[in-house]
Amino acid sequence: MMPVASLEWFLMIAAFLFACGIYTILTRKNAVSVLMGVELVLNSANINLVAFARFVKPAASLGPQSVPIPMESGAAAVIYGAPWASGHVFAAFVIILAAAEAAVALGIILGIYRSMGGVDVDEVSALKG
């Protein structure tokens, strides 16, 4: 019998990845390495999102649009479209944002490299208070 991966496994992997990312950000001196740490953090969030989308049933079950769905508390909320997909959609948006952020950050790092001849975060310290 194959062991079935449960939600906890995914969450642990994601938390581990998040910790690695934060560790990278805090310890690396090279701006590009720091950026790689940021990518790890963003992707740990993506693992969480997709895992939750697979395992967590939404607060209300699927229903036709605009029809209120009774909740445990007796309150009502309207859920549109396919709520199980919102985690995937969220993750897709995060991937796009990560790409945009990386593009801008790399552009800035390139500019710094051209004007200062290096991208060591510690050496970029003209401003101090």
Partner: protein, 516 residues
């Protein structure tokens, strides 16, 4: 009220117009308008003025149709007076900054088209932040504000300080939004839905530790945006290195956007009005109430660190950067009392703060454009050489301190009153002590301008001309700073009206269709 797509779009008109203006700015810049024509900056300012007009129309439309709020795009975006208030604040800031920047030679030399396209995109981000009621929309909106801001901070490409500011901003910002996203992914996992209303229904069922971790991670992102301690480290460097017009924008509009999402998120997901029909009354936290204490500590840290560090600054931009950190701490005071009055005080303070802070930064721009510098020593005796500039800067700084009869005083009175009303006396005392400390460094600037380098007789005065354009803009910032200190009732009414409709999901009756 559920609307069809076309009617949806009519409520989204300000955002659509802004998007059209962004495209127009890029296209007009491509036609290479003759240098010195200022075509692009005028187009951007006109576009922002038109957007402001559309926002007023949105207010009117809500009033005329007697709706408190309208949900758009499958409940992921809301148009309500609360969001409109922050959109208006953001739009006014962007408009004034566009006017400031229109007179800065260095920005023109670096490419006006890029500058205004990026500036307007950040404004669009603030608009989306103010209306987001869904995690996906919230994240996209925050990044729409953040990513162009990183570029704007480094707009002077060859300038070391500016490049460094943008590097620090992007690294801090990306880390903060990464941590925030990680926290938000747990919120999604909790409820299985990305809507604030759906999450609020599950918040009560989790234990304090889990909620604390989730909130802590999310607060990293929001705290970064409003530069609250301990996520403020980027602020002084970025504010000092970035072009002054950008600094003025980051310290006002960007911060207002941060407060908009902070209030919207916490007061929809983690608190609800005690009496559902009365958001002006007390609110009760959903689940564990510990977050108010936690934010109270953040607020104290923020204002104390900001004020103590501002104390020994010699660069005026850097001094104002620390002062803006301290002000984030003051504004947070209204956040933790969990009453409508506290929220009203926050909104009021944000509105008066943007004018006095924009005015202070505009003075710095005017001085450096007229041949002065940004160091405190460059301001010596400036009051005598440019009296209007000196008086205006004095008014902005005294208003930031919170001295009557200026608008900052009224704002602080509302904040402190809301605190004391809910029994947070110790916090009010700390805040008042902080205000007293801040008097020292604000007065130091005024003293440098008026009491140092005093000319012996009138003939010795070398006039310092700031130009009629910058003088006019100074007056534009000065009028609300003084006016709201004397006659603040309209602003108070507007803030109250905005808070009155901040609930995105009125408590629905069992089995009933939600009434929006």
């Amino acid at each position: 009220m559920q609307l069809g797509v076309v009617e949806n779009l009519s409520y989204f008109a300000p955002e659509i117009l802004l998007t059209v203006v962004i495209a127009a700015v890029i296209l007009v810049d491509l036609t290479k308008p003759p240098p010195g024509s200022r075509l692009v900056s005028r187009l951007a300012a006109t576009g922002l003025a038109a957007t402001l007009f559309m926002l007023i129309l949105s207010y009117a439309e809500l009033e005329l149709k007697q709706r408190t709020r309208v949900f758009l795009f499958a409940d992921t975006f809301v148009v309500d007076p609360f969001g409109l208030f922050f959109k208006t604040v953001g739009c006014v800031c962007a408009f004034l900054v566009a006017l400031f920047a229109g007179n800065v030679r260095r920005i023109e030399a670096h490419g006006e088209g890029e500058f205004y396209a990026l500036l307007l995109t950040t404004t669009l981000g603030i608009f989306l932040m103010a209306g987001a009621t869904d995690l996906v929309g919230l994240v996209v909106a925050i990044e729409t504000l953040s990513i162009p801001s990183y570029v704007l901070a480094g707009f002077y490409k060859k300038d070391r300080a500016s490049s460094e500011a943008s590097l620090k901003y992007v690294l801090f910002g990306a880390t903060a939004s990464g941590a925030m996203l990680f926290g938000l992914s747990y919120f999604y996992g909790l409820a299985g839905t990305t809507s604030f209303a759906g999450i609020a229904q599950r918040m009560g069922s989790i234990d304090a530790l889990t909620a604390g971790i989730m909130l802590g991670l999310v607060l990293v992102g929001f705290g970064f945006k409003i530069s609250a301690a301990p996520f403020h480290m980027w602020t002084p460097d970025v504010y000092e290195g970035a072009p002054t017009a950008v600094t003025a924008y980051l310290s006002t509009a960007s911060k207002a956007g941060g407060f908009a999402v902070l209030i919207r998120f916490f007061y929809n997901v983690l608190a609800r009005p005690e009496n559902p029909g009365d958001p002006m009354g007390p609110w009760i936290p959903i689940g564990d109430p510990g977050w108010t204490q936690f934010v109270a500590v953040l607020s104290v840290l923020t204002m104390t660190i900001g004020n103590l560090a501002a104390y020994r600054q010699t660069n005026v931009k850097r001094l104002l950067a620390y002062s803006s950190i301290a002000h984030a701490g003051y504004i947070l005071l209204g956040f933790i009392v969990l009453t409508g009055a506290g929220l009203m005080a926050m909104l009021f303070y944000v509105a008066v703060y943007v004018f006095m802070n924009l005015g202070a930064f505009l003075t710095v721009i005017a001085v450096s454009e007229a041949g002065g510098g940004e160091e405190l020593s460059d301001f010596r005796g400036l009051g005598w050489r440019a009296p209007f500039l000196g008086v205006a800067m004095g008014a902005f700084l005294f208003s930031l301190t919170g001295l009557p009869p200026l608008s900052g005083f009224v704002g602080k009175v509302y904040l402190f009153a809301a605190l004391i009303d809910q029994g947070w006396v110790w916090l009010a005392v700390i805040a008042a002590l902080n205000s007293a400390v801040s008097l020292y460094y604000y007065v130091r600037v005024v003293k440098t301008m008026w009491l140092e380098g005093i000319p012996r007789n009138d003939a010795d005065v070398i006039p310092f001309r700031v130009g009629s354009y910058n003088g006019f803009l100074l007056a534009v910032c000065l009028v609300p700073t003084i006016l709201f200190g004397i006659y603040w009732a309209p602003l108070e009414r507007l803030a109250k009206y905005s808070v009155g409709a901040n609930v995105t999901q009125p408590a629905p009756k069992a089995g009933a269709k939600p009434v929006h």
